[in-house]
Every structure is written in C-alpha cells, then in structure tokens.
C-alpha cells in the first residue's frame, strides 16, 4: 500500500540534487552560545562537512536534548527537534525506525547523554540504529551554570561540590564500547581538520556512530582540555589513532605506545632500545584493542587517545526491522484490513 509518506517521498525524489555550500546549512537564527565557546567550532565543522556527504538538507535531521549543546539544531538549516532532557536518543530512535530514509544526527552533552539520558544512550548503542551521536563533553553543566557532570574529575570544585566532587567520572568512549557500540571516536573542538575527518567517517558508518568531542566551556570550565588542544602541550599529551599506523606522539614523533601484555606503556623510539616496529599498531576493527585504547583515557601517565577507536560493521536495528516487515509482506501479502477484521472464529446472526 502506498502511504502518505511514500507519496511525499516519491514527489520529493524529482527534486534535482543541489550542490551545497556550508552556508546552506546555517539557519537564520542568531547563535546564542557564550562568545568563545567550543560549540561554535563544532557547528562550523558540521556545516563544513555536510555538503560533502551528498545528502539533501531536507533529508537531514538534528535531534537534541537539553543543555548548551542541545541548542545546536536551531542553528542548522535542516529539520531539527530540540526535545527534552536526556531523550534525544529515544526521539531519534523512533524517527529513524519510522523513516530509515533520513540522515539522523543526535547532539547531546555529558550531562544530557551520560547522566539523565544514560539509559537511552546505552540501548541505542547496543541496538545499532543507524544514527550519529555527537556528544559534546565539557565536563561541566553549563546551562544550569556550573555544577559538576558525570565526566568531571574527582575532586572538582563546582557550585554543587564546594568540597570537591567525590563522583568517579565516566569515560564516554569506554562506556560506548561497553554498550557494544559499532563506531566510537573522539575528537577535539580546537582541531577542525581532525573533527571534519571524524564527522565524515561517522556519517559514512552504517550503524550508531558515537563521537565524543572535547569541548571547552570557557565560562564554567575553561581550559579543561587545553593540554590536549593547545600548541605547547598537545604533541606531548595526545596520541592520534590512525588505522594501520603505529601509535607515535611527541614533538619530534619520538615517542610511542608499546603493549606490555595488555598494558600500554610509553617508550622512546629515539634512545635505541625500541624502534617504530615495536609499537602498537592501531586496528579499528579490533574490539579488544579498542577497550585497551579507550582505557588509556583514565591513565594520567599516558597520552590521551584521540581518533577512531572502533569501526565495525554489524547489522543495524532499522535494517532488520525493515527486513522483517518486507519478509512478512512477501509471505503473507500486504496487510488487508477487511481480512484482518474477518479473521479467526466468526459466526453469523441472521
């Protein structure tokens, strides 16, 4: 049966493809984040990447929850839904199930996605619905003016923790991997090039793509990630993950990560003891390795891993749902209401 949605899609199909620029993705709304907020860069990179994806903007939907990050959809000239706290993942799941033809993006934060919305997030990841999750991690509650978040470090002094936080933080990448995510990545608000690459890869990935973005909240948690983003410190403190390449870092690329059993250790490739051949080589398809790499986040002595931890193909929930429906239709024929009403044991009264 042709539904009203199919009719609309059929007529929309005749619309000629447009060559977009990033400007086409910017809406007429004034952007209202604090000046200097890391969100600006994420918005700019997203708008820059969109034209390259080859997806019409009327086929693109941004869904968000509540928080500073969740204002994002208002600024994208696509379809958008600013939903309620923590539930963007569930709203987007329903939308993608109903409309597998759409490109669905979820914008959330560390509070929205990991605290109030933690439950929906893990279930989305295990189901592997084909949507993209951008989790802006600023390790603070910005919109409510500065309480600690589930990713804030222990000891953090905030408005709600004057004696320091005693909450142990989540590592979003490990959490996502633990929830069986098929695509897990981390990127940085102050590294536009890297972010663009990661966003593109996330969009291309079939299944739930989970991207954690370190985002500076210059009002309530300024500099939280500066050691990973600023020129002076970044080389020493970040190791970029590249598929098939050894893990090297340092100003002179003179250091690397070597696996000692399951334990990553920092070694020098300059002192003659080890060469680049001894280093751990990244493999995006290796789930075990992805756990080891994500766990480096919690080890202060190790450089912070940034890049794509895991990118695996596995069936998506929306595809399987469509398949079950198609197969049922093939086997039983398109559902007929008259037949349904008259099915089972019936009798006549004259």
């Amino acid at each position: 049966m042709s539904t009203k949605v199919n009719e609309m899609l059929a007529s929309a199909a005749s619309v000629a493809p447009v060559k977009y620029t990033s400007k086409d993705f910017s809406s007429d709304q004034d952007v209202r984040w604090c000046p200097g907020c890391g969100d600006y860069s994420i918005l700019a990179q997203t708008q820059r990447v969109m034209p390259d994806l080859g997806i019409p903007k009327h086929k693109t939907v941004f869904v968000s929850g509540i928080g500073c990050s969740s204002r994002f959809p208002y600024y994208m000239n696509t379809y958008g839904f600013h939903s309620i706290h923590g539930r963007a993942t569930a709203v987007a799941s329903g939308l993608k199930m109903a409309r597998p033809d759409l490109s669905v993006w979820i914008v959330t934060g560390d509070g929205d996605g990991m605290s109030i919305g933690g439950n929906h997030l893990i279930h989305l990841l295990r189901r592997n619905i084909d949507v993209n999750v951008l989790l802006f991690n600023n390790q603070i509650y910005g919109l409510t003016k500065g309480q600690y978040s589930p990713t804030s470090e222990v000891g953090k002094v905030t408005k709600s923790t004057p004696y320091g936080s005693i909450d142990y933080p989540f590592n979003p990448a490990s959490l996502a991997l633990g929830a069986s995510a098929s695509f897990v990545a981390r990127t940085l608000d102050r590294d536009p090039k890297h972010m663009q690459v990661v966003l593109k890869r996330a969009a291309e990935h079939k299944g739930t793509s989970f991207v954690e973005i370190y985002q500076n909240c210059n009002v309530f948690n300024d500099g939280a990630f500066f050691q990973f983003t600023e020129k002076e410190s970044k080389d020493e403190n970040v190791v970029f993950l590249e598929h098939g390449k050894p893990l090297v870092f340092g100003k002179e690329k003179e250091k690397g990560i070597k696996l000692d059993g399951f334990t990553p250790t920092v070694v020098s490739t300059k002192d003659g003891k080890y060469s680049v051949n001894d280093l751990l080589v990244h493999n995006e398809k290796d789930t075990t390795l992805s756990f080891i790499l994500a766990d480096m986040t919690m080890k202060p002595a190790l450089p912070r891993p940034v890049g794509i931890f895991l990118s695996l193909e596995r069936p998506t929930y929306d595809d399987m749902m469509t398949l079950q429906i198609d197969e049922a239709k093939k086997k039983r024929g398109e559902g007929d209401l008259e037949k349904l009403l008259n099915s089972g044991d019936t009798w006549m009264i004259n």
């Binding site: 009327h58 379809y79 009264i349």
Partner: protein, 612 residues
C-alpha cells in the same frame, strides 16, 4: 440414563483453580464455544499478579467468570450461578460470589489435608452443613483424568495439566455445547506435541461422557441464542480490539503505525498483538523504558507515522514530561492507559478508574490533552479510531483510557466493514510557499504536519515556548499567554467535532446516572432494571472526557439528581461539579473489582428515596 433438560435465559459460571491449573484457558475456550452458539456474553478474568504462585494457596487462585444468555448481556454477572472449584483455596476465595442455592462442582482431589491447611480451612468444608445451601457436586477430577489417560504412559505432570479439560468437558455437557471448536483449537495449538494433543482431547471427551453417564448430574441446561443485531460476529477482548482499532486507524489514514512501548500489566497484550501484524506495516518497538516508549513515538510522529504508546498508570507517570513536549510541539500521538489499581505499583492485575485526573491534569504547565474512554471490550476498537482521528486532525497528543476489566474481558463483537470506518486521510504540508511551522488551520487550529524529507520545509521544533506562526523560540510574555490560550482553545474546539451526548432513557427525570469507561455494562444493567421497575432514571455514558460534548451541562440540568459511579474516590464527579456546578454525588468503589449492578441499584434506590 435420561436426563432432564431445562431452559435458561442466562447463566453465570465461574471457573476457579490454582494459577497453574489453566483456568484462564478453560474459561476462554468455554467463551469462544459459547460465542459461536450465538449467545450474548461478557467475561471477567480474575488472576493473581504472581505468575505461578505457590500451589494451593489463597493468593494463587485464578478465576474466570462468564455470563452468557439468550438476553442482552452487559456485565460478567454480579454473582455466579455455578462455581467450578479445582481446590479448597479456589472454593474459599470464590464461595462469596456464588448465589445462594447455586451449584458447586469441586475436584475432590483438591481437598486433601494439605490443601485444606493451605486454604486455612480447619475442617473439610465439603462436609460442613453450611454447604447444604448450595447444590454440591463432588467429582474426583484428578482420578478420572488419570484413568482416561492410563494407557498413554504420560508423565504425571502432563496428566495433571490436562485435568482442566475434564472440567471443561463436563461444563460443555451440562450446558449442551459442542466439543468441536475446542478440539480444533487443541489440534492446532499442540500440533507439534501429539502426546499432549491426544491427552487433552481424550480428557475433554471423558469430561463430557462423565456428565452423560454419571448419576450425580440430574439436569442439563439449554441456553438459546441471543437476539443480537444481525451480522457477522467474533469474540473480542478489549486489548485485542484496541490493537485492531489502531491498525484500522492507520490504514484509514494511509499511514504506517508505530508503537513505542515498555511491557506493563495489563497493557502488554496490545504490544503482543500488534507485533504480529508486520505485513500491515506495523512497527512495534519494545523500548528500554516507558520514557523511551513515548519519546520514540513522538520521534516517529515527527517522521509521519500514526504513533502510539501503550501503558498503564505507573507508565503514564513516567511519560508525563514527554507528553508536555508533545503538547508543545503539537504532534499527534495516542497514549493508551489501560488503568489498573494504584497508586505506585498498586494492584497490577486489578481494575480501577483512578487515572482520570492524571490524564486531565497530570503535567507541568498548562498542557491540555484530549481524552477518549472506551466503554466495553468491543468498543475499544472504535475508541482507538476516535482517539487517532482527534490526534491526527488536531495535531495533538490524545489519551485513550481503558482499564484492566475491559482489557481482559471479552464480548461478542459485530464485525464492521472496513469501508464503513471513518476516513482519516491526512494531508502533509508540502508547499514551501507561505509555510510557517505554527501557522494554524483556521477552523481546527491545528498546525501543519511537515515531515522531514519534504524539500523546502526544513524547520526546527522543540519544547521551548514557540512564537506564534514562526515557531521560533520566544520568551515574550504576551506571546506565551497567547500560545497557552491558543493550545487550550484548540482542544476546546474539538467539542464542535464530536457527537453530542446521548441519554439512554428519558431526557428528563429524577435521576441521571453518569459514567465513563468500563462501568458502562454495570450501570446499564442497573438503570435498565430500575426503569423496568418504574423509576425515573436515565443513563449518560461519556466517551469524550476532554473536551466533553457540548450538551453535557444541558443534560445534567434536566435531572433532579445526578449520580456518578466510579471505581475511584470520585474523579469525574469532581470535574462535573466544578465545570457545571451541579450537586452530583458519587458512588465509589476502590477494591480492584468492577461494580456489581446491585451496588448501583442500591444507590439509585437510596437517592430516589431522598437519602443521597
């Protein structure tokens, strides 16, 4: 031996046993066969919340009551005429619902010392002279079942599991019903287990034959077909009718149906039922929780589905915030509340009507939601279509209220022609010219449904207050008040688009009994009886509770007294009193059980005598 046959207009039978005894199955089979014979009927399953409560205990007793006859049947019966009790606990729990002089058929094997102790009987009640006010039939069903199967070499567990078919066979004999429909059902159900298939059929026949040959049954009964509206019928439960109503609504709207749901008693059967209809394009999503159930539905609605979420009271509590969002973004979504006893976890398997005020007012801010309530199991079908119609036409969340009694109860249902069902065809907005997300239809005040994928209509919606017309975020005080009033007005205007309320009985008189939801049958029976006795009583049953039909006040003012029986502390009565300033009084029962007609009759008499 030759037996007497007596004709009866109606009879109520209650099957009762351990929750593992298969009483629900026995009752359902008796119901289906009875329906096929053209009787009118109404059923009431009554089962414990525990899946398999300890054997022989009082709280493990499961019952199924069926009231059938050649007359119009509106309720499952206030009391039963026949009680089939598979053990002592079943007798103890259910004896109170048996009419004086009624018949008891017991499985004597269920009255061992251990059973008596578990049931809390100090001595065997079957030997107690008090039992003599009933007609007692003592049958060792367990032994007779074992005998019927003795050459089959079956485990004692299988033998024990088939004894309910013996009881069913006996009752088929006693009320002269054919065995074939049940035999066919057994064959289909157990096609993969030939042992069980054969044993169940054998035991069913053995039960029938026992009735035929034993000396203890002296009479059997004949209950002729009822004079129902001519047409094709089937038996239907409330939950099944609800599920089918939404399939029908989606078909008539040319939309796919999306259900986001989290399992909860007594609503889960709607999820089970709908999950079977994939070939109808039905998408069912068992979400991780109640909140994801409703929010996924809201997402699907944004995408252009007829989106629904099924739940019961505790689930509605969790969905509350999301319903406010649906009010704000003005997207169609139907929330089905199969009400149960509350508060909190309350009485999951028992019925109640205590969520009306929750549906009306249970949200933050001014968040009006239309409410439709079903009155009988079969009516759930039409109520589901009506709830969908309002949601789609007015771009609004809608509550559909049913309850545990309607959900699990069943009745013969006149099968409609699909082409006679209302046409719910929707029109998505597709023209980009002049599009504004909150530009409303002049008449309905509905905003346009512009779904993602439509070129040129890219727009953003959300839970922040909307600017009139543009839908942009707005904190303007005057705009907020305007929008609050506009959303309220949109819901109020639905009153122009629903049927006026119709009184059953005279339009004026001494007393109007006003009900809503599943109390329909009990009120109708009571009012019909009182009218037959010459009292000036009429019945008004409300299907639309928000907004109410425009003539509701007018009707109320035509009666000297207004009585509102409800299975709560008085919720509709509160609304009627405040809205129409009538001195309505309530009749309230909060026992997890439906009204008995006599309870309502008693109150009617009391009011008419001036007692109130």
């Amino acid at each position: 031996m030759a037996k007497n046959t007596q004709n009866l207009d109606e009879v109520t039978i209650r099957f009762a046993g351990d929750s593992g005894d298969g009483m629900q199955l026995t009752g359902t089979q008796f119901t289906n066969t009875t329906a096929l014979l053209g009787n009118d009927l109404s059923t009431l399953p009554d089962y414990p919340a525990e899946i398999r409560a300890p054997q022989g205990t009082l709280f493990g007793v499961s019952g199924f009551q069926i009231h059938f006859g050649s007359l119009e049947i509106n309720t499952p019966g206030d009391q039963c005429d026949v009680l089939v009790a598979m053990n002592a606990a079943a007798l103890k729990v259910n004896l109170g619902s048996l009419v004086d002089g009624g018949a008891i058929i017991v499985n004597t094997d269920g009255f061992s010392d251990k059973n008596l102790k578990l049931a809390g009987y100090p001595s065997n009640p079957l030997k107690d002279p008090a039992i003599q006010k009933y007609t007692l039939y003592e049958v060792d069903i367990t032994k007779l079942t074992t005998l019927a199967l003795q050459d089959m070499n079956l485990s004692s567990k299988i033998v024990d599991r088939s004894k309910n078919f013996f009881a069913l066979g006996m009752m088929y004999w006693m009320y002269n019903r054919p065995l074939e429909p049940t035999i066919e059902w057994i064959k289909k159900k157990f096609s993969a287990k030939p042992d069980i298939m054969e044993s169940n059929i054998r035991v069913l026949k053995a039960g029938w034959n026992y009735g035929e040959t034993t000396e203890i049954f002296k009479v059997r009964y004949e209950v002729g077909p009822a004079k129902l509206t001519p047409g094709k019928y089937r038996n239907i439960t409330g939950n099944q009718a609800t599920a089918w109503g939404f399939i029908a609504a989606a078909k008539r709207a040319h939309l796919d149906l999306f259900l986001g749901s989290y399992p909860i008693t007594p609503a889960s059967d709607i999820l089970h039922e709908l999950s079977m209809y994939k070939s109808y394009g039905v998408k069912t999503f068992q979400a991780e929780d109640e909140i994801a159930g409703v929010t996924s539905a809201i997402g699907a609605s944004f995408g252009g589905s007829l989106a629904i979420t099924t739940t019961s009271g505790p689930g509605v509590a969790l969905k509350t915030e999301a319903l406010g969002l649906a009010v704000m973004v003005e997207l169609p979504v139907v929330v089905i509340n199969v009400q149960r006893g509350g508060p909190s976890t309350g009485l999951p398997t028992k019925t109640e009507q205590a969520d009306l005020l929750q549906a009306l007012y249970g949200r933050n801010g001014e968040a009006p939601i239309p409410i439709v309530a079903a009155s009988t199991p079969g009516n759930c079908f039409y109520a589901a279509i009506e709830a969908s119609r309002i949601a789609l036409k007015y771009m609004t969340p809608v509550f559909l209220m049913t309850d545990g009694y309607l959900a699990n109860g069943s009745e013969p249902w006149l099968i409609p022609k699909s082409s006679d069902l209302p046409d719910l065809t929707v029109k998505f907005r597709t023209e980009a010219e002049g599009f504004m997300p909150y530009l409303r239809d002049e008449k309905t005040l509905a905003r346009p449904w512009a779904i993602p994928g439509t070129p040129g209509l890219e727009h953003r919606i959300g839970g922040l207050e909307k600017q009139h017309l543009t839908g942009n975020v707005s904190y303007d005080p005057a705009n907020h008040e305007y929008m609050v009033r506009l959303r309220a007005e949109k819901v109020e205007r639905i009153a122009d688009d629903i049927p006026t309320a119709k009184v059953e009985g005279d339009a004026k008189g001494d007393l109007l009994v006003v009900g809503w939801g599943g109390t329909y049958g009990a009120i109708k029976s009571a009012v019909t009886k009182m009218r037959a006795e010459g009292h000036s009583v009429s019945h008004l049953h409300l299907t639309h509770l928000n907004p109410m039909p425009k003539n509701t006040g007018e009707i109320l003012y035509n009666f000297k007294n207004v009585l509102v029986p409800e299975l709560n502390m008085g919720q509709l009565v509160k609304v009627l009193r405040s809205k129409y300033l009538v001195p309505a009084v309530g009749l309230n029962k909060i026992q997890g059980l439906p009204f008995k007609s006599v309870e309502i009759e008693k109150k009617i008499v009391e009011i008419l005598k001036g007692g109130k």
